[in-house]
């Protein structure tokens, strides 16, 4: 006899399940394709889900019916029979046929998604614990006359067949922007390709989907699709020369702090040391993966720390994310201003990064990695230095 308490629990669970299924703010919803590649998957999964759902319901109904109809009421055990060849063959052939039909369409989808010969743009994507790096090789037709390097947010032109060439510097990761395509593993020493194409301008959220260590859940990414004109502006900005902070400003003091502390791992292209030599980062000497995000145009992005945190305040972020496809480009290209900066999270990150995001950054426990960090360590910066750094980072647009 099912008790009242159990019935209530079941009801609440069912309601929760139904309510969760109706979430409006679900940026990683696999049922809302925003590009032709994701549409290929969606066109496959919709009918398969429907067929599988109907079969599932039939099986569940048959089981429930049998459980209630034939439950033990003290009746004698029915006659036991063995072997019904006709029925067994039928019940084997029907699922086999269904699977064969599904396989035909699945293979078709796989071949379409594996195409690379119609690529219009390539972007190299490198995963490491726990962020993604994007580099754009020279492609003159898009105005990319020198390689561009970025992280956290992948920026791409709409209506363009983009081919990601994925690899990893440490362990296996997996790249997944559900609105634009399926998953593809990033494997050290290998290059795996993934097609992306967006129909309209917008920002699409993603998540690493291969367990990759302590902060796997915090290894996020966003794909930003811009109109071709806006993308050209973004490219031009990414290739713009470094502009040193104004003399005697707080930002200039921040540049000195950056040179003293951050440049050990983080590259800012064009940044020069006091002796006039270029400041070349050496993440290979400090970080296990051998890389740290290039911060040259940090404030042209909306996120930091592997897209775990927003550089924009909530209000400004909402304005970008909720913008129409006509206006999102301009809002995104505006970057991060003083007024829109998420000071709280950025300052907290600079104050004690491992406290914000779990990382292998305890200097006393780095034997396994030869003294190298996995993630950003605690730098013991003073509040004064943090203020200077924030002022400097704000100039990196």
């Amino acid at each position: 006899m099912v008790g009242k308490k159990s019935r209530t629990l079941f009801g609440v669970s069912l309601l929760s399940f139904i309510a969760a299924s109706c979430a409006t703010n679900a940026p990683q919803d696999t049922w809302q394709p925003k590009g032709p590649n994701a549409k290929i998957i969606d066109d496959l999964q919709q009918p398969v889900f429907a067929v599988a759902g109907v079969i599932g319901l039939i099986v569940a109904a048959a089981v429930i019916y049998s459980v209630f109809k034939f439950k033990d009421r003290g009746q004698p055990i029915p006659e036991q029979t063995h072997g019904k060849p006709a029925l067994e063959i039928t019940l084997t052939i029907i699922p086999a046929l269904i699977l064969a039909v599904v396989a035909v369409f699945t293979f078709g989808a796989i071949f379409k998604l594996a195409k690379t010969d119609d690529t219009e743009m390539i972007i190299n994507v490198t995963g490491q614990q726990w962020w993604w790096e994007y580099d754009y090789p020279v492609q003159n037709e898009f105005g990319i006359t020198q390689p561009i390097i970025s992280s956290g947010q992948l920026v791409m032109p709409v209506g363009t067949k983009v081919l990601l060439r994925e690899t990893s510097r440490d362990v296996i990761h997996s790249y997944w922007i559900p609105a634009l395509n399926g998953k593809r593993d990033a494997v050290p020493g290998r290059i795996q390709t993934l097609r992306l194409e967006a129909d309209k301008p917008g920002i699409f959220a993603g998540q690493c989907t291969e367990f990759c260590g302590l902060s796997h859940a915090n290894m996020r990414m966003e794909a930003v699709a811009l109109s071709k004109a806006d993308f050209a502006k973004w490219v031009a900005n990414q290739q713009a020369a470094y502009v040193a902070p104004e003399k005697d400003s707080l930002a200039q003091q921040g540049e000195a702090v950056f040179l003293n502390q951050c440049v050990r791992c983080h590259q800012v292209n064009g940044l020069m040391r006091a002796d006039g030599t270029p400041a070349i980062a050496a993440p290979d000497e400090n970080v296990w993966a051998g890389a740290a995000p290039n911060l040259t145009h940090l404030m042209s992005r909306n996120t930091f720390a592997g897209a775990s945190f927003d550089l924009l305040s909530k209000q400004c972020r909402d304005e970008v994310w909720n913008a129409s496809s006509d206006t999102i480009g301009a809002k995104y290209l505006a970057g991060v201003s003083q007024d829109c900066l998420n000071q709280k999270d950025l300052r907290s990150w600079l104050r004690n990064a491992p406290e914000m995001k779990p990382m292998y950054a305890n200097p006393t426990q780095l034997e396994a990695t030869g003294g190298k960090y996995r993630g950003m360590p605690y730098l013991a910066l003073s509040e004064d230095d943090i203020s200077k750094l924030v002022a400097y980072l704000l100039t990196l647009k």
Binding site: R165, I280, D284
Partner: protein, 361 residues
Amino acid sequence: MGMTVLSVAALIMSLFVLDQVALAGVALSMLIVAAALLGGIAVVTRDGNRQSGVTEQSTDLVSQSIWPLVTSIGVVFLALGLVISSVVFFGGIVILLAALAEWMVQSWSERASKDANYNASVRKRLLNPIEFPVLAALGLGIVIFSFSRIMLTVDKSVGTALFIVAGALVLIAGTLFAIRPNMRRSLGVAICVLGALGIIAGGVVSAVSGEREDLELAAAEGHFTHKECGPEESEYFDKLKEETLSLRSSVSATIIYQDGELIANLQGLDKPQKSITVSRSSATNIIFRNATEGEFRLVVDLGKPKTENADSDHDVDCTQLVETGGEQSLTLNIAKSSSAENHYKLFIAGAEDKQIEVVVP
């Protein structure tokens, strides 16, 4: 229960002796759990209580057993391994587990009946299918390893002769066994054992005397690691076999030397490129294809090494000489971003003007 106590003691000892106890701790903890479980079962079922456990079928006395001794050796290895090295520690675990398994099965089989022969047959039936393949693999491994030591010690020409002689002896022995099926079994065993012992003895002597002079010289001078990247054929490097077949399944770019021009083909781009982008601190495979008459090698200039001496030569890496129509892979792993002062490039040895820029963003 004794094993449980011993494991706890070893775990406590490892906590004090070792800095990095994670692996040893896990292994010993598992041993504690396993031993405690077995001990608990024995206590609960009173399996270890001879008064209650004696049945009419069981024998009165247990036979002699080597396994307590082997178990003790395993424990010693385990304890020593905690201090000396992980290899000894894992060796101890293997010995301990094998000895415990053998010991348990022997104890169990001795309770099967009053007939000692039947009990022995029960033990054999259970363990021989495991023991024989393991021992055979171990024995073969030792013989093969010993033979390899001999081949590394003797002169190249002697090695060839030795290989022929060894092959001939195996053939003769095989023929003998085939044409004399009724030959005494002990004679066959003796031939095999003597042959194996001879090889093992030779291997021990060879291991003690060391590798032959040219191999020692090659190791000392780095013949196998040092690449001579000039246009001419190198003395050692070009004679090595390329062992990079698997890299070809995942290449970043194909560099082609065709009609006297060096071009790069990148997957996804139609047009040939004059530069390739290589992610820093990431192993990146490229293929060099020689489509020009003659033998050429592709060289990558990795910039100046990180040294105080500003005049020091650039670091380079290269393929072997590749014949016309041939191709070879090369793995790039560049840690530092390229800059105005830090250029990387690919070029053809002897034709330095044929270049592809390597950009490391």
